[in-house]
C-alpha cells in the first residue's frame, strides 16, 4: 500500500486547505484546458500532415489566448424568441458541475480538496448535471438544430451512463472503497491490467458522454451546424468551449485515477506522474478523434445497448466471482486471465453485434 505524502488538512487548518485547493483546482482547470486546446490542435494537425497553429507565440502556444481574447470581444446574442433566462443560465449550469468534479480528484497523496468516502459516486452524480445545462441551451435557443443536438446529447448520456457506471463498479469491487484516494492506493497493479475489459468499456462510454469524436454527433457540424451551442456567441460560447475541454480533462483525470494508478509511479514526483498520465490519456482521446469517423445515432444507441451494456454486466459478474473465489496466488496470473477473458468476450460480442433489423453491415 502506498502512503499519503501530505497530511489530510495540508497546509494546516480547514479553511486554509479549502482556499488553497480551490485556487489550485481553478488554476489547474484553466491552465490545462488552454494547454489541451493547443495540444489537440497541434497533435491533430501533425497526424493529418499539417502544421497546426504556429504563428502566435513560440510554437503557437499563445493561440488559445488569442482565441479567448477574440471570443471575449464578440457580441453576445440571444435569439429573439429564445428563453432569455434559461439561455443565460445554461452555460453556468453546464460549467459549475465540471468545476465541482475536481473536488475529489487526488493530485497526489493527500492533495485533494475533499477526500469523500463516496468520491466516485459523487463524480457520477455531479457529472450528469452538465447534461441539464446542455439541454437547457438546446431548449432556450429556439432553434431546431440546437434542440436536435441537445436531444441527441441527452439520449447518449442516458444510454452510456449505464455501462460507464457498471464498469466503475468493477473497480470499486476490487478496491472495496468508493474514495478516490483509496482507489489509487489499492492499485499496486494498475487496474487497467486487472480490469482491461472494464477500462475499454469505461473509455468508450466516457468518450460518448463528453461528446468526443467518434461520438460527437450532438455537435456534428456537417449535419446540425454546431448542435446545442449554435445560437451561442461571446463569453457564453467560451464557457461551453471550456466545458467541452474541461470534460475531456476530467475524464482524463478520472481514467488516470481509476485505471492508471493515479499519482503513483517511480522516480518522478507524484503530482508530475499524475500530470503525465492525464496528458497521455488525453493524447489517446485526440488520437481516436483523428482516426475514427463519426457514428450515426442508431449506431450510437446499438453500441451502447447491444455491445457495452451486456459486456459491462458480464464484466461485473466475472469480477465479483473472481474476488470471491480467487485463491491466494499472484495477482499477475489474474491479469493474464482477465486479458484473455476480454479478448474472448470482445470477439464473441463483435460476432453477435447487429444494428437495427438484424443488419450486420452498415
Amino acid at each position: 500500500m502506498a502512503t499519503l505524502v501530505l497530511p489530510p488538512d495540508w497546509p494546516g487548518g480547514f479553511w486554509a486547505h479549502w482556499g488553497v485547493f480551490v485556487v489550485i483546482i481553478f488554476v489547474f482547470l484553466m491552465a490545462m484546458v488552454v494547454g489541451f486546446i493547443w495540444f489537440e490542435r497541434r497533435a491533430m494537425a501533425i497526424m493529418q500532415a499539417r502544421l497546426g497553429p504556429n504563428r502566435t507565440g513560440p510554437f503557437g502556444l499563445l493561440q488559445p489566448v488569442a482565441d479567448a481574447l477574440k471570443v471575449l470581444l464578440k457580441e453576445d446574442i440571444i435569439p429573439a424568441k429564445g428563453d432569455k433566462l434559461v439561455h443565460w443560465l445554461a452555460p453556468v449550469v453546464a460549467f459549475i458541475p465540471l468545476l465541482m468534479l475536481f473536488a475529489v480528484v487526488p493530485f497526489q497523496g493527500g492533495a485533494i480538496l475533499a477526500d469523500l468516502n463516496i468520491g466516485i459516486l459523487y463524480i457520477v452524480a455531479v457529472s450528469s448535471v452538465t447534461t441539464v445545462g446542455i439541454f437547457m441551451a438546446g431548449w432556450a435557443s429556439n432553434n431546431k438544430y440546437s434542440l436536435l443536438g441537445a436531444m441527441r446529447q441527452v439520449a447518449s448520456v442516458v444510454s452510456y451512463e449505464i455501462p460507464v457506471v457498471l464498469s466503475i463498479i468493477g473497480v470499486v469491487l476490487l478496491t472495496g472503497s468508493l474514495s478516490m484516494q483509496q482507489i489509487v492506493m489499492a492499485q499496486d497493479i494498475p487496474f487497467i491490467l486487472l480490469q482491461p475489459l472494464g477500462f475499454l468499456l469505461f473509455f468508450i462510454g466516457a468518450l460518448a458522454e463528453i461528446n468526443r469524436a467518434p461520438f460527437d454527433l450532438m455537435e456534428a457540424d456537417s449535419e446540425i451546424v454546431a448542435g446545442f451551442h449554435t445560437e451561442y456567441s461571446g463569453m457564453k460560447f467560451a464557457l461551453f468551449y471550456l466545458v467541452e475541454y474541461g470534460e475531456a480533462l476530467a475524464i482524463s483525470a478520472i481514467v488516470t485515477t481509476l485505471f492508471l494508478s493515479g499519482w503513483r509511479g517511480p522516480v518522478l514526483p507524484p503530482w508530475l506522474w499524475f500530470l503525465v498520465k492525464v496528458v497521455i490519456v488525453f493524447f489517446v482521446i485526440v488520437w481516436v478523434r483523428t482516426t475514427v469517423p463519426r457514428v450515426r445515432i442508431d449506431q450510437l444507441m446499438a453500441l451502447a445497448w447491444k455491445f457495452l451494456f451486456p459486456l459491462a454486466l458480464l464484466n461485473l459478474l466475472i469480477t465479483a466471482v473472481e474476488i470471491l473465489v480467487w485463491p491466494t496466488v499472484s495477482l499477475w496470473l489474474l491479469v493474464l486471465v482477465n486479458i484473455a477473458i476480454m479478448v474472448i468476450l470482445v470477439l464473441l460480442w463483435s460476432r453477435l453485434f447487429k444494428l437495427g433489423w438484424g443488419r450486420v453491415e452498415v
Binding site: I46, L51, T291, S350
Partner: protein
C-alpha cells in the same frame, strides 16, 4: 471471416494515424519558404521586347478582352512603324496566352513572376517601360521551350525537402 468486424479495423486506423506523427507536414509556409514554380507558368504580367516588335498589332487583335492598347506612327526615314504607346491592363488580363502565341516576331512573352498584387488598379497597367525584360522581370517558358530549358526545375512536394533553401 472478416476481421474488420472485431475491432481490427479500428486498430489498423490507429496505427496509420500514429505513423503520421513522424511524417513531415506537407504544408509550405509561403512567405518564408517559396517553392520554384512551373517553368511554363503564365505569371500575371507580360514581357515585351522593344527591338523585336514591329507594331503589327496582332496581339491587340488576338486579345479578346481588349486589354492591350497599341498605337503606332509611320517613320518614313527608317521605312517602318514606330510603337508610340504599348500598354496592357493586367487587371483585365486572363492569362490566356493568345497574344504570346499569335506574335509572329517572338516579341511578347508571359512573365515568370506571380507576386504582382497592387493597391490601386492603375498600378496594374503595364506600359512600355514596365514591360521590358529585366532581371526582376523574368520571362516564363510559356510557348517558348528554349526559354523554358534555361529556367530552374519546378520543386515537387515529393523532392521539396531535398532542395536547400
Amino acid at each position: 471471416m472478416k476481421f474488420e468486424r472485431y475491432g481490427i479495423g479500428i486498430a489498423k486506423g490507429l496505427s496509420v494515424t500514429i505513423r503520421h506523427l513522424l511524417r513531415r507536414p506537407v504544408t509550405t509556409q509561403y512567405p518564408e519558404r517559396r517553392l520554384v514554380t512551373s517553368r511554363r507558368i503564365r505569371g500575371n504580367e507580360l514581357v515585351w521586347s522593344r527591338e523585336k516588335c514591329t507594331g503589327c498589332g496582332s496581339c491587340a487583335k488576338a486579345c479578346h478582352i481588349g486589354a492591350i492598347e497599341i498605337t503606332t506612327s509611320i517613320n518614313p526615314v527608317a521605312n517602318k512603324y514606330e510603337v508610340e504607346t504599348y500598354q496592357v491592363d493586367t487587371g483585365y488580363c486572363i492569362q490566356c496566352g493568345l497574344c504570346v502565341e499569335v506574335c509572329p516576331f517572338e516579341a511578347l512573352y508571359m512573365g515568370y513572376a506571380y507576386e504582382r498584387a497592387q493597391y490601386r488598379r492603375n498600378d496594374l497597367v503595364q506600359n512600355k517601360e514596365t514591360m521590358m525584360e529585366t532581371p526582376d522581370r523574368e520571362v516564363s517558358g510559356y510557348f517558348y521551350p528554349e526559354r523554358a530549358a534555361k529556367l530552374s526545375r519546378q520543386t515537387l512536394l515529393l523532392d521539396r525537402d531535398k532542395v536547400k533553401k
